[in-house]
């Protein structure tokens, strides 16, 4: 078993009213678990068995689509749970704010562009804040893709698959994205990931 499903770092109802208990139960216990289980089945007997999730994501991209889909989604969801917290959002830590000011034109512009990236990802996918060539960049990717396979390191990501918001927001993806950035983001985890980038 290469992949294991991490526990949520908070109670299932901890993100209400912005993300419901019901959404987190399905999203974590069913969707993420399915990526883990399917990924492990696909890894069985392959040379990538036992490697890190990051290595598997990069090695399977463009070569083994079913494995990539599930490995990518495993990586994405591991961090997605940590990128949120109860009473999240709020002030952005100074170290990140400085980088947002210099690379992305300020906090308000960053928030608007990040939300717009999520709205503009047609179909299923993710919107990202990533570090590429030493600079912060807003990205969006379809389905299970992420910045790792585009020469970048993600430090914040939001799931815009409909399963992430349909119970709570139905078709109103923009409202979900605004709630995420204003009320859910765990900036400490973003800061930690930023500190580990090259």
């Amino acid at each position: 078993m290469t992949f294991t499903l991490p526990d949520l770092p908070y109670a299932y109802d901890a993100l209400q009213p912005y993300m419901s208990k019901e959404t987190l139960e399905f999203h974590h216990d069913k969707h993420h678990k399915a990526y883990v289980d399917t990924g492990n089945n696909l890894l069985k007997g392959s040379e990538l068995e036992g490697k890190s999730v990051e290595e598997i994501v990069k090695a399977s991209y463009g070569k083994n689509q079913p494995l990539f889909n599930n490995a990518g989604q495993h990586y994405n969801h591991i961090h997605f749970w940590q990128w949120m917290k109860p009473n999240g959002g709020g002030a952005i830590p100074g170290s990140i704010e400085k980088r947002i000011e210099s690379d992305l034109g300020g906090v308000e512009k960053f928030k608007a562009d990040f939300v717009q990236a999520g709205i503009g990802q047609f179909g299923s996918g993710w919107a990202w804040l990533a570090v590429k060539n030493g600079k912060l960049e807003i990205m969006k990717t379809p389905n299970g893709e992420n910045p790792l396979v585009h020469g970048a390191e993600p430090i914040l990501g939001v799931d815009v698959w409909e399963h992430s918001y349909y119970i709570d927001y139905r078709n109103r993806r923009p409202d979900y994205l605004k709630a995420f950035i204003e009320n859910l983001v765990n900036w400490e985890h973003v800061e930690e990931m930023l500190s580990k980038t090259a």
Partner: protein, 240 residues
């Protein structure tokens, strides 16, 4: 019902927080344009219990409406493109200016796919007869084999998309799957029928259980409508 009540409360909390943005969204009336959203050809609860009424209302009134609105917006400055029938527009995306190509692909595809989708549901399932049954037996190995291959293709579409049965002028059938709102119309083909496997099509009732949705969906297919489309395809009059 308690289920929905709680959802409504949650949505209410969000609505308060983002009242401004919601006001903005609802103020945007559909721009005048060549395309309009036809009403559902049956009540929203006609496909229950297999597809719940709330899903039908949001799917038709919000999702499909957004494709129509955005398609008209993309065509606003392109009167020449707006004059083209939708199936021709989608079959010639390479001739569409880059600035609106993705918008027309996504929203034109979304409009065509959903217009077809409403039309072929509202029925009682069962099996088709006559020439359509003969074509399914000949090209797809029979009704049960067709259902199995169709459901497998739908379940295997990672992310959002559709699964279709296409039909050519000779009445030959094939199963295919497309991502997002792409359609066989973009390959110059014709769609006999198709099923939407975006999560919005089934999430309120089936959540992560897409295979259960695919299996249940056959109970609402109106085979008389599909047979009409089959006859039209052979007559060369089927468009979207």
């Amino acid at each position: 019902m308690a289920h929905y009540h709680r959802r409504a409360l949650l949505a209410g909390a969000t609505a308060l927080t983002f009242a401004a943005s919601i006001r903005q969204a609802s103020a945007q009336a559909a721009p005048a344009g060549p395309y309009k959203l036809d009403p559902l050809p049956y009540p929203a609860n006609a496909n229950e219990p297999h597809i719940d009424a709330k899903t039908m209302e949001i799917h038709h009134g919000r999702h499909h409406q957004a494709y129509v609105t955005n398609l008209n917006a993309a065509l606003k400055e392109h009167a020449d493109l707006a004059k083209k029938p939708l199936h021709e527009l989608l079959a010639s995306l390479d001739q569409v200016p880059q600035s609106v190509r993705t918008a027309i692909r996504n929203n034109g595809g979304g409009h065509a796919n959903h217009a077809m989708f409403w039309q072929i549901m509202g029925g009682k399932g069962g099996e088709p007869g006559g020439e359509l049954k003969a074509a399914i037996d000949r090209d797809l190995g029979g009704f049960e084999a067709m259902k199995k291959a169709f459901n497998t293709a739908g379940a295997g579409r990672f992310g959002s998309g559709w699964v279709f049965v296409t039909v050519d002028k000779a009445g030959k059938l094939a199963i295919t799957s497309k991502p997002n709102q792409d359609t066989p119309l973009m390959d110059g083909e014709r769609v006999l029928f198709g099923n939407d496997v975006w999560e919005h099509a089934y999430y309120l009732t089936y959540q992560n259980r897409r295979p259960d949705y695919l299996a249940a969906w056959w109970n609402v297919v109106d085979w008389s409508k599909v047979s009409e489309r089959f006859a039209a395809a052979k007559a060369g009059t089927l468009t979207i």
